[in-house]
């Protein structure tokens, strides 16, 4: 497990249970206690957690997490996808992020990336999002300006949907939108289970210069109820190494650049 993975795992453990002792982290992550303490210091300096006597507590005000955020450790593929997306993003740019586990990972990768550390020198980022949890995680970072779109907050989810977002999106510029999806295929484009989410995701994408879909290989060539965007509207797909060559080729034939993380 490399350092990035270990830091992410620490944050995941914290979001599951709210607090973490050094011993637990040593046991679960297989690192020395000196390493864990250094990691905790590093994350505390970035205000991603608060140090306590024997470990740490989650930095954000804790509240009920939707079930999908509680489920176990994040898959390593999503972590690699998140790192690839973070590397793609230009410092100083304006990035849109919708909700979901993949984009939540992207948000964390952005938060910890060394390239986006200083707003004044123009390397900080502006993130526009419709996900409350992403907004909360990024709001504490001094070098990231966070804008949340307006709208109705869906029950039991972290997502803001509805036409109110349009007023805000019309007033700003977005360089790149990164969309998490439930399914993506070269013929149907990007899809979501919920039509309300799909409509807001489409709104986010429509106001962006460049559209990126971040989806692990299990979502490729799948179908879901509501269409977000046709394939022609997607510029880049970031997926994991398990995506087979034929599928990748079909996406490329549809005019989509593919990055396999």
């Amino acid at each position: 497990m490399d350092r990035h993975q270990r830091l992410t795992s620490i944050l995941d453990l914290l979001s599951e249970s709210g607090s973490l002792s050094v011993e637990e982290a040593v046991e679960k992550l297989g690192a020395s206690s000196a390493t864990i303490r250094r990691d905790l210091e590093h994350l505390a300096q970035q205000q991603l957690l608060t140090r306590t006597r024997g470990g740490a507590v989650a930095a954000t005000v804790s509240y009920d997490l939707p079930l999908r955020y509680k489920v176990g450790r994040q898959a390593p593929e999503k972590e690699r996808i998140a790192q690839a997306v973070a590397t793609f993003i230009r410092p100083g740019s304006i990035v849109g992020l919708n909700g979901g586990t993949t984009t939540t990972n992207v948000a964390r990768a952005i938060a910890m990336h060394d390239d986006f550390q200083d707003h004044r020198s123009g390397t900080g980022l502006t993130v526009v999002t419709n996900a409350l949890n992403i907004a909360s995680e990024l709001a504490v970072r001094p070098h990231i300006k966070v804008v949340v779109v307006g709208g109705v907050v869906r029950t039991h989810s972290y997502e803001i949907i509805g036409p109110l977002a349009e007023r805000l999106l019309e007033a700003i510029s977005v360089d790149l939108v990164v969309l998490g999806v439930d399914a993506v295929s070269p013929d149907r484009g990007a899809m979501a289970f919920d039509e309300g989410e799909a409509a807001t995701n489409a709104l986010l994408a429509r106001h962006a210069e460049q559209v990126m879909v971040a989806a692990d290989s299990s979502k490729l060539n799948q179908r879901a109820f509501a269409h977000i965007l046709p394939a022609q509207a997607i510029d880049v797909l970031v997926t994991d190494a398990a995506a087979d060559a034929e599928t990748v080729q079909r996406f490329q034939d549809a005019g989509i650049d593919v990055i396999r993380a």
């Binding site: 509240y63 949340v148 307006g150 989810s157």
Partner: protein
């Protein structure tokens, strides 16, 4: 010689008293017990320190007025929880079934949001509009209440949205009551905030509301000054806790402000 000794003793006791106040012991009986003196001695000391404007009297004792200091919401979520909970309980009845209300960012407003989310509205829930991430998230857990969040730029410490992007949504909305949080509050001046951005958004919200209720625990009353003040429309309501200064209701009345003290009937 006897008098000088007494004065030195009094000075030392005043110093010990201030140390205790700083550490969070604020009630007369606790102070008396810690100092090994009578309650009336403590009251006399507090009267003196108050006259010298070093402490502010509260209902049961005193606090040292703080310089304005905006805390991150993570920190304020761990302080004065009982007072905030009591304020939320006192404020909840101001929300009528079926009404559209505004609830601000911050932990006291979040406590109110929690009560609203847990309440059984018998088929006629309010609609809540908010500018706070925590308020929105708490209400998102309710099957009954619809919550709308205003868009805009999120402020790092308070997690509340501000700015011209927020105004875009506000234009279309109107509230029967707006519950506003505060970093400082003064019945004569309104709500104290760290920047003009907050005062701007709160003034706009107040302008769209039939009634304004400020939810502020008594520590916000003991803040000496604030960088920016939100002017509120006349006849607003302040909901605070029972540690508020004894003369608050009178001085608030002079400004046309109604005071609701949580925990007192």
């Amino acid at each position: 010689m006897q008098q000088r000794g007494t004065r030195r003793g009094t000075r030392e006791r005043h110093k010990a008293l201030l140390d205790l106040l700083r550490q969070g012991t604020t009630h007369v009986d606790e102070l008396a017990s810690a100092l090994g003196v009578s309650a009336s001695t403590v009251r006399r000391d507090l009267g003196r320190l108050n006259a010298d404007r070093i402490v502010a009297r509260t209902y049961g004792g005193a606090v040292i007025p703080e310089a304005f200091h905006e805390r991150p919401i993570e920190e304020s979520a761990r302080t004065r929880l009982q007072a905030k909970g009591a304020i939320a309980v006192a404020a909840r009845p101001l929300v009528s079934p079926g009404a559209t209300v505004f609830i601000d960012a911050g932990t006291t407003c979040a406590a109110l949001a929690r009560l609203i989310a847990e309440h059984d509205w018998a088929g006629d829930p309010p609609v809540v509009v908010t500018r706070g991430l925590e308020t929105a998230t708490i209400l998102a857990s309710s099957d009954q209440v619809d919550v709308v969040i205003l868009g805009g730029r999120i402020r790092r410490l308070s997690h509340g949205v501000v700015g011209p992007l927020t105004d875009l949504a506000l234009d279309r909305l109107s509230f029967s009551v707006a519950f506003l949080g505060a970093d400082a509050v003064d019945p004569a001046r309104g709500i104290g905030e760290p920047t003009l951005e907050e005062t701007a958004v709160k003034e706009r919200i107040a302008a769209h509301s039939q009634r304004v209720a400020v939810l502020a625990d008594s520590s916000k009353l003991a803040v000496s000054d604030a960088p920016a003040w939100t002017t509120l429309p006349p006849a607003w309501t302040l909901v605070t806790d029972s540690d508020a200064p004894a003369e608050l209701e009178r001085s608030a009345g002079d400004s046309g402000v109604t005071v609701l003290v949580a925990g007192r009937s």
